[in-house]
């Protein structure tokens, strides 16, 4: 339908748009930057942070680009004196309600701080601190996620993520006005809520008010990112391992997801992918095949030797007791293809239907 496609104007430039799109979406496609703090493409637009306000011709007020739907012939202005003044004062207000560093800028965190980046671009109005009585949960003993109320801008990305993406609803906005905070029912620790500790709230937080307890904050300057595939299950989530240290001593210090829209996991991870990386450096980790010898001890072997030993053992059982004396259990960490091969071994090679995959229970 041609009527669903039309042109709008952004800063005087004709941009092709489609019915149902927002100003923010069209601008992003055209490479026009509209700053925002509360927007996350995985969430319904909230229009709450007010950073993305733009001028819409014919509208008396500034309107949120993240939520404003385009219509034919609409004229948008994203940079003007009025918008500049709006940003200066708005950022000034945010800074009056935020922990600042020695230079009067929002503090840097291990997860960045988008408010700091915005403040560095536009000289914010210097306002006295408002000392909002925002309560945190200092006694929350969960091992992974820490909430820093002094860094929170109450954009509600975390609570909306927990609701709209994860459908877990462990956290909520609570109280009202300047007392508003991010809370759990009864201000309990996350372990005593429905929280699954996926850490998606950390990922979506624009100011680093939610951080990984296990990771150094901030990460050392030499940290580098290594893209890999999570091996905890067959979904194939992509991970960015943040590795610190040099060759011999390098360690994974943090795990994040590639940004939404780039990989199969769309910016999301589960508790295992995000937090369960300690095994990588664990001293008990088995790093090579082992075969138990006549002496009862385990001895290092090559893969060929190990596979041959396993095949021999399985063959002996089948010979003595029949194929149905065997059972095959594959790991939840296997991919679909690996699981297929496992049942192939079970059915075609050994002739038994005793095949199971551990995450099927």
């Amino acid at each position: 339908m041609s009527s669903n496609r039309f042109d709008i104007e952004i800063n005087g430039k004709a941009c092709s748009a489609e019915k149902g799109e927002t100003v923010f979406e069209v601008a992003a496609r055209e490479g026009i930057n509209i700053p925002t703090l509360c927007h996350d493409t995985r969430l319904e637009p909230a229009g709450a942070c007010r950073v993305c306000l733009v001028e819409v011709e014919g509208q008396r007020r500034l309107e949120p680009g993240c939520a404003w739907k385009v219509s034919e012939g609409m004229k948008i202005t994203t940079e003007s004196e009025r918008i500049e003044r709006h940003r200066k004062v708005l950022y000034g207000l945010y800074l009056a309600d935020h922990e600042l560093d020695g230079e009067g800028l929002p503090v840097e965190t291990g997860n960045g701080n988008q408010l700091r980046e915005l403040a560095m671009k536009t000289e914010p109005l210097a306002l006295n601190p408002v000392e909002a009585p925002r309560a945190g949960r200092p006694s929350d003993e969960n091992p992974y996620i820490r909430f820093e109320p002094e860094l929170c801008i109450l954009c509600a990305r975390c609570t909306r993520y927990c609701d709209e993406v994860e459908a877990v609803n462990a956290i909520t906005l609570a109280n009202r006005g300047s007392h508003t905070t991010i809370a759990t029912a009864g201000m309990r620790g996350l372990l005593d809520t429905t929280c699954e500790l996926c850490g998606g709230c950390i990922d979506t937080c624009p100011t680093g008010a939610l951080v990984e307890k296990k990771s150094p904050d901030p990460l050392p300057a030499d940290a580098r990112k290594v893209r890999t595939t999570c091996n905890f299950c067959g979904v194939g989530c992509q991970l960015d391992l943040h590795v610190v240290g040099t060759n011999g001593t390098s360690r994974v210090a943090k795990v994040t997801s590639p940004p939404p829209g780039e990989t199969v996991n769309d910016g999301n991870l589960c508790i295992k992918g995000r937090f369960a990386y300690d095994f990588i450096h664990h001293e008990d980790r088995i790093t090579e095949p082992l075969i138990r010898g006549e002496d009862g001890e385990l001895h290092p072997a090559t893969w060929d030797e190990a596979i041959a030993a396993a095949a021999e053992g399985l063959g002996k059982v089948k010979e003595k007791y029949g194929a149905d004396a065997l059972g095959f259990v594959s790991s939840s960490r296997c991919t679909g293809e690996e699981n297929y091969l496992m049942q192939k071994i079970s059915r075609a090679v050994y002739g038994t239907n005793n095949i199971h995959q551990c995450s099927a229970t």
Binding site: P45, A46, G47, A48, C49, R50, L53, R61, L62, P64, A67, R82, R85, H86, K88, V89, L90, G92, L93, Y94, A96, D97, L125, L127, N128, V130, E131, A132, I153, L154, A156, T159, D163, A167, N169, A170, I171, T172, L173, A174, N175, R176, G177, S178, H179, T180, A183, T184, A185, G186, R188, T193, T194
Partner: protein, 507 residues
């Protein structure tokens, strides 16, 4: 998991029954309704009537009550050993200082003479007259049909009397024209703009006019469901509505009537916040568009009117739109003006829309002392100097004067009042009642209040250096009307009373 829908709509009522938010109450309600515990916790803590369990006396700190000694009363009651709480305007400004007992029933400590326009059958609402409960206008509306009714509303030029003055017929036509047939009519009886108590008087004195107006509206827009959202502090008013629905019986039985309680949040007078509240959520205003006429309660087309707007409808239908229009001066109809503060007979007076302050106060028994300022429509309208006493009290004229009529809750201040302090009281109100959703309002209201506090403490006007910028941003950048006007008290006071904010010796 019940994120929305019928179960979710119950949670605030259940919290009320439980006596407020506690961990145990939240757990029980979650088990019963399937709504996540965190959602119930977060929603409950938004509303002052349920956020803190236990019972206590509530003392109003609205402007009229402050100037009539609510601070002293609070102190006295506390000394008597009563657990007391300072709360935002209770809508009882004519009996200032207003107080509610532990069960939210009114206690009268104010001894002033109160007034209401005496019986005059020519007035559309005639609060001082006998109750009108014939429902003849509803019958007539059914006879002449929806188009004719809406045409009369249009001819009457009826503007929304909650404060926005939006033409009523546009909303009626919009709801009537929606393809969705499940539609709602909602009455906004969450009267909470400080200085305003007209809806209360309509409900207590002419409840059937309200029901009839809503029924006519529902019939005209094709809605079967009529909901009345009444502020939780209005206990006797709620009982009156229940009784009136009962009395009306058959006459209004073609509609499903439902009463929803507010739970202590001024912001729920904003229409989309009110809808969120009815849906069992935190009363945070929605982004508009879409407007409620298209996407309202439960996402369905919704016609929402203030109590007074609805109560004007029966007279318009029975006597005609032209007649109603002719009652006003510059704008159509009569208007219920609430007046309190430094006047001799505070009350609700039905006068032609567009009278002046002097005319109004004359009806209200004259000024008490030497007036210096007035606030035409609650804190949202800021202050005007008494030299503006000739500005017609209508929507357009007051907007031109940089203020607004709003809900017509006029408060008169005499020369015993320190305007800087009065400003601070109004800012207190907005800081406490900001929903906290958007930064300009959440941070701005607190910033301004603190800066005025700082000025009051040390008399240094530098505290207010950036007040203009912050006020500008609150008006430009806030999501809803609360944030947009929350700087008005300071802005207008600094404009009209600059001498008050000059350097002064500290207190």
């Amino acid at each position: 998991m019940q994120k929305k829908g019928a179960q979710r709509e119950r949670i605030l009522h259940l919290l009320e029954e439980e006596g407020g938010v506690t961990e145990d109450a939240v757990r029980r309600i979650s088990a019963e309704t399937g709504v996540p515990e965190a959602d119930i916790w977060g929603t409950g803590l938004f509303y002052t009537l349920v956020s803190k369990p236990g019972k206590r006396v509530r003392v109003c700190d609205g402007l009229s009550c402050r100037i009539k000694g609510s601070d002293e009363l609070l102190e006295r009651l506390s000394e008597e050993g009563k657990e007391c709480e300072r709360v935002s305007c209770l809508g009882q400004c004519d009996r200032a200082p207003a107080t509610l007992d532990e069960n939210l029933e009114q206690v009268c400590y104010g001894g002033v003479e109160r007034g209401v326009t005496p019986d005059d059958p020519s007035l559309p609402m005639n609060l001082g007259g006998p109750r009108v409960d014939s429902y003849a206008s509803l019958e007539k509306a059914k006879e002449i049909g929806s188009d004719a009714v809406i045409a009369e509303i249009e001819a009457a030029g009826l503007q929304g009397r909650g404060g926005a003055a939006f033409p009523a017929h546009i909303k009626w036509r919009s709801v009537r024209g929606q393809t969705e047939t499940e539609r709602y009519v909602i009455c906004n009886a969450d009267e909470a703009e400080p200085g305003t108590f007209k809806d209360r008087e309509i409900i207590l004195r002419q409840p059937h006019l309200l029901l009839e107006g809503l029924a006519i509206a529902a019939h005209a827009v094709g809605a079967k469901n009529v909901a009345i959202y009444i502020r939780g502090e209005f206990t006797s008013e709620r009982r009156m509505i229940e009784k009136a629905i009962d009395e009306a019986g058959e006459k209004i039985s073609g509609f499903d009537w439902k009463i929803y309680n507010g739970h202590g949040a001024y912001i729920c007078g904003e229409e989309t916040a009110l809808i969120e509240s009815m849906e069992g959520k935190r009363g945070m205003p929605r982004l508009k568009p879409p407007y409620p006429t298209e996407y309202g309660f439960r996402g369905k087309p919704t016609l929402m009117h203030n109590v007074e707007t609805a109560a004007c409808v029966p007279a318009i239908v029975s006597r005609g739109g032209e007649w109603f229009k002719g009652l006003g001066r510059n704008e159509p109809g009569t208007k219920l003006y609430c007046v309190s503060g430094h006047v001799n007979r505070p009350g609700v007076y039905e006068l032609p829309l567009g009278v002046t302050l002097d005319e109004l106060v004359e009806v209200a028994g004259g000024y008490d002392g030497s007036p210096i300022a007035f606030s035409p429509g609650g804190p949202s309208s800021g202050f005007l100097p008494i030299s503006d006493r000739d500005v017609p009290l209508d929507f357009k004229s007051l907007a031109k004067a940089g203020s607004m009529l709003g809900s017509a809750g006029l408060v008169v201040l005499n020369d015993t009042v320190d305007m800087a302090k009065a400003t601070k009281w109004q800012l207190d109100f907005f800081e406490r009642e900001s929903c906290g959703q958007c930064a300009p309002c959440r941070i701005g209201t607190r910033y301004l209040r603190r800066q005025v506090d700082s000025y009051l403490a040390d008399g240094d006007p530098n505290s207010l250096e950036f007040a203009g910028d912050v006020g500008w941003e609150m008006e430009e950048g806030s999501i809803c009307g609360l944030g947009m006007v929350a700087a008005k008290p300071l802005e207008s006071a600094m404009k009209h009373f600059p001498e008050v904010f000059e350097e002064r010796s500290s207190e």
